[in-house]
């Protein structure tokens, strides 16, 4: 029931010719009466888009993301949100589809802050889609929005009208919350833009320039050789692989098989399905370019991982890794050459792709050494501050010569207080995250990347 100044928030129309759109009831992320800013997600539901055709098997769109295809509802205006009891059925009805999409459905109410004149009878919800592709269908988790083990997560505005574009983030841990935000649902980065944002995380494989170059050039035969070699040799060890080993190994092989840079996308908007080509913009972390990694002795492929993962490797996997890989040292020139190879490979497929690289924090005023004589050259191999400066300079050269755009985290961190903004020199605090996100969006707008070059209508 509508009382006082509460305005009903309606789903609004959606047109997907030849398909039914069904949905779950609403799962609330905010308490009844909680104040929300404009664009803040307050609830979400699951949707399934299935063919109306009776003949033959039913076609489900977004099939590989079907378990985690959600519509997030954000506040179209600032105000107190109130729950719609009629649309919260509870239990599995909040998780799996039980209702048909009806544009008149009231998904909640909003009590505007201040006086809204003229006061509308109803207001259309501001919607965006979030989707997760699970590493395996077994990694099922319905506890929240984009919770679980995903190989790729993405989000876009359902309100997009013109053909939109994609930002693909292959950044490591330092960019995860910048891209996915505090809610993990992309709401912060998509608050004002209608583009698609895709996030791939470094759960096992770190996507540095060498790994990505290899993935782009790897042919099916190359992958088969890796998989065959692995399957034969892991069984030759003294440790019998456990279930944990096979799970780990499965993710290892999946990462080496699949290149996110070559993916096309389908997105759903209120006007129907849009097909999107490969990403218009790719975001990388310079932090991923460690001075050493490992490479396979026989097949030569690179395996880059976060050092803290190593103690987590299961016993048989670890035993297989040690004799089959060797340390690969990468100096500045090696890293530069890897980047050049990567940039050329990306642009050979999609010449207009914008490549953004977040640089490293190189400055900290809290401590310093005034004499480097006791450090062996090159000092950047020992001192991380010097290494960050070296890599940042390398990136400047790369930007100038190969049209790569620097996201200057170093300057932003310095402005925000150095170690206060990046306490360990890598990970950001909330203020820094917001500034970094804004800088990425500013660059995408300046580069005129579709979907990021204008403020969205709703």
């Amino acid at each position: 029931m509508v009382t006082g100044s509460k305005i009903p928030v309606c789903l609004g129309p959606i047109e997907v010719g030849g398909y039914n759109v069904s949905r779950s009831s609403i799962r609330w992320l905010r308490e009844d009466g909680q104040l929300c800013s404009k664009g803040e997600i307050f609830a979400y539901f699951t949707i399934v888009i299935s063919s109306k055709e009776n003949k033959g098997p039913r076609i489900i769109l977004f099939n590989e993301e079907q378990q985690d295809l959600k519509v997030a509802i954000s506040a179209p205006i600032a105000g107190q949100v109130h729950q719609s009891r009629d649309d919260t059925l509870g239990g599995w009805s909040n998780i799996r589809q039980t209702l048909r999409w009806d544009e008149t459905d009231v998904v909640g109410y909003i009590e505007p802050q201040g006086d809204l004149q003229p006061k509308p009878d109803k207001i259309q919800a501001s919607l965006f889609m979030v989707a997760g592709r699970r590493v395996t269908p077994l990694a099922e988790d319905h506890s929240g929005l984009l919770t679980g083990w995903f190989d790729r997560t993405r989000a876009w505005s359902l309100e997009a009208e013109a053909p939109t574009g994609t930002l693909l983030s292959l950044g490591i841990c330092n960019l995860r919350s910048v891209i996915r935000g505090e809610s993990s649902g992309f709401s912060e980065i998509l608050k004002d833009v209608a583009g698609q944002v895709v996030s791939v995380t470094d759960n096992l494989l770190v996507y540095n320039s060498r790994v990505l170059s290899e993935l782009l050039s790897r042919q099916p035969d190359g992958y088969h050789a890796i998989a065959r070699d692995f399957a034969i040799n892991i069984l030759k060890g003294n440790v019998l692989p456990s279930g944990a080993d096979w799970t780990f190994a499965g993710e290892f092989l999946r990462c080496l098989q699949f290149c996110h840079l070559t993916e096309n996308y389908k997105i759903l908007t209120r006007k129907g399905i849009q097909s999107l080509a490969t990403p218009e913009a790719v975001l990388l972390s310079l932090e991923a370019e460690t001075s050493s990694t490992i490479k396979h002795r026989k097949l030569g492929y690179t395996f880059a991982y976060q050092g803290y993962r190593r103690p987590q490797f299961p016993p048989a996997f670890r035993e297989w890794l040690q004799p089959n890989f060797e340390l690969l040292k990468r100096n500045l020139n090696d890293i530069r050459e890897d980047y050049v190879r990567l940039v050329r490979s990306i642009r050979a497929r999609a010449p207009s792709t914008e490549i953004l690289v977040v640089n490293m924090m190189s400055s900290s005023a809290e401590f310093a050494l005034h004499r480097f004589a006791d450090f062996e050259a090159p000092i950047g191999d020992t001192a991380p501050g010097v290494r960050a400066q070296d890599l940042n300079l390398m990136l400047y050269d790369l930007a100038r010569e190969h049209d790569v755009t620097i996201v200057d985290a170093d300057a932003i961190a310095a402005k925000l207080g150095g170690r206060f903004a990046m306490p360990d020199g890598v990970h950001t605090n909330g203020i820094m995250e917001t500034e970094l996100r804004n800088e990425i969006l500013r660059i995408l707008k300046a580069k005129n990347v579709p979907g990021f070059n204008a403020t969205k209508a709703n």
Binding site: P384, P423, H427
Partner: protein, 116 residues
């Protein structure tokens, strides 16, 4: 004259560190700019992240002295302000009173050796 070496606070979120490596034995002379020890600082308790926010530091002498007594052992967790070692200007000096001041040191972040 006696000096102490205490665990310095290296950043706003640091509250402790692990004594990782010692470069000089007790009663040895330390020259200015000579490395004394390495520390491992894990900010997980104060600035947790899904991958551990760990930094490594090296403490380097800023003046000449003798390392007279090491108060802690490698692997110990130290809190900011904890005494790590005592130094003296002379090799056979006997401590008669409280240390005059802290040893002058420099601290630099380091990249740990690759374990493979």
């Amino acid at each position: 004259m006696f000096f102490t070496l205490q665990l310095p606070k290296l950043g706003p979120y640091m509250d402790c560190g692990v004594f990782d490596k010692l470069y000089i034995p007790e009663n040895e002379f330390v020259a200015a700019n000579q490395k004394i020890l390495d520390l491992r600082v894990d900010l997980s308790l104060t600035f947790a992240h899904d991958c551990p926010p760990v930094n490594y530091y090296r403490i380097v002498a800023g003046e000449r002295a003798y390392l007279r007594k090491l108060v802690v052992t490698v692997g110990d967790t130290l809190w900011v302000g904890d005494t790590i070692a005592l130094f003296s200007t002379e090799t056979d000096e006997v401590p008669a009173s409280a240390p005059k001041r802290q040893l002058i040191v420099s601290v630099i972040g380091i990249i740990p050796e690759e374990i493979w």
